[in-house]
Amino acid sequence: MAERAIRLWLWSSVFWLILGPILGVIQSLQFLIPGSLDAYLVALELPYSQMRIIHTNVLIFGWLGMSFVAAILYILPRLAGAPLHRPDLAWWAGWLWNAAWVAAVILIWAGIPGHWLVSVQAAEVGEAPLLTDILVVISLLTVAYCVHTTILNRQTRRLYVSVWYLLGGLYTTAATYLVGNFLVLAFSGPGYQVIEAWWLHNAVGMIITPLGLGIAYYVIPLASQQPLYSHRLSIVGFWTLMAFYPGTGLHHFLQMPVPAWITEFAVISSVLLGIPVLAVIVNFLATPRGNWNRIVASYPLRFATLGTIFYLATCIQGPFQSTHAVNWYIHFTEWVQAHAHLALAGAFTCYGMAGIFWIFPRVTGRQLYSRGWAAVTFWSMAIFFPIFYIGFTWSGVATSASVNLLGNTLYETLNVTWIPRASRTIMGAAVLFGFLAFAWLLLASLWRGRPFEEGMNEVPEMGTEPLAAAEGGATA
């Protein structure tokens, strides 16, 4: 039953991974060739504004949320040495989560005004109607109950750092979601904006980040067959993340009329985030040291390492752009969305895929059938995604120059940004192709994949014989 629940969360996440980027590519086309799709979108009654909301919500909560919960349901019982408590509830929670976001897609699309339960809410990334929020909270608390009880039933006293991140991440997810989707409704004016900023950034920092890092902390030592580089750094990284991240949100609205100390606190917190990032990056890149050749054979390690490179890039960029000196220039431009894509579509999507590539053979009993399709996904993320990101960022820089330095209107900037926008659309479509390859590989492996035994590589061409356990390394 536990495997059944994991498979439900896993397959659902793959569905959302395909739906979200398709909408993203359509949106980018609207910037490149305005009006080209109007006839279809008017017929569908799906304007850009609603499509954007669906795009962001289903990717954050559908793809990342569900793939991370699949990993939690797999990883925590193994680290605890205890079976998952009430896997039937975890399975029902998966259906509830899916129902919540299917309802969100339909209701955002329908755009029913003025209803307390089914109308779109005025909070970025919290636009899903109250009906979705209620279903999500019930599902989340159910998962938290299952995995927390599993940890209470554990055989081992020691809690590996992944448990800290994944269990802690579930609780910060619950708290953050409650603030951003319920408490925010009670405020208005600057107070509302402060709460909204807190939610907006912590949707990434207190939901996606701890869960994604918890998966990487699990996959990297096991896939590289090396011990984790530093226990101490992992603990320092966890607690400094929890200390500095919650205060960062208001760097999104540095120009708003609130007391200066609040925005300065956000800027200082944002720069201090460099400390947990440093701890994480050192641990992730130093752990496979001495056995880096495993990166050739192990796709989970490949994706986790690529995710770490994207994570490093996004975490260097973030603190700089949160400061006044940089923020005035890039605010209101696509630079910001490019940064969000680097974190969510780059770093954490890679961590999600690393987790799925690790879990899939172990819950289905099948190896991934084709190294080629795995390589298509990997290289589309390694080559096309950075070009997509550069086009996105370039578009933001050009937009700011056009508006802030040349005095053009935002609409006029379309004339000076068509090259980066074209690059964004074409490369975005290439990344989407990589996602389709990922989905196809998983689906086809169900009937084409060879039987998997613990210790084998996930991809058959890399060796069907069980691997020798690394001396002094991680043991499975």
Partner: protein, 49 residues
């Protein structure tokens, strides 16, 4: 293939080392502290120049 339920109960132990933060890590932390408190919060380069 082993029984999925029994696989789920197999404890996994990930060994941990005692590596230290490299010296350049401490340099980066000091730079982050300087940037956070002395440069970041102040509007040194406003749009008007």
């Amino acid at each position: 293939m082993s029984d999925p339920q029994s696989r789920n109960r197999e404890p996994i132990q990930i060994r941990e080392g005692h590596g230290r933060l490299p010296w350049w890590g401490w340099v980066l932390i000091v730079l982050a502290l300087i940037y956070a408190f002395l440069i970041g919060p102040f509007n040194w380069f406003p749009p008007q120049g």
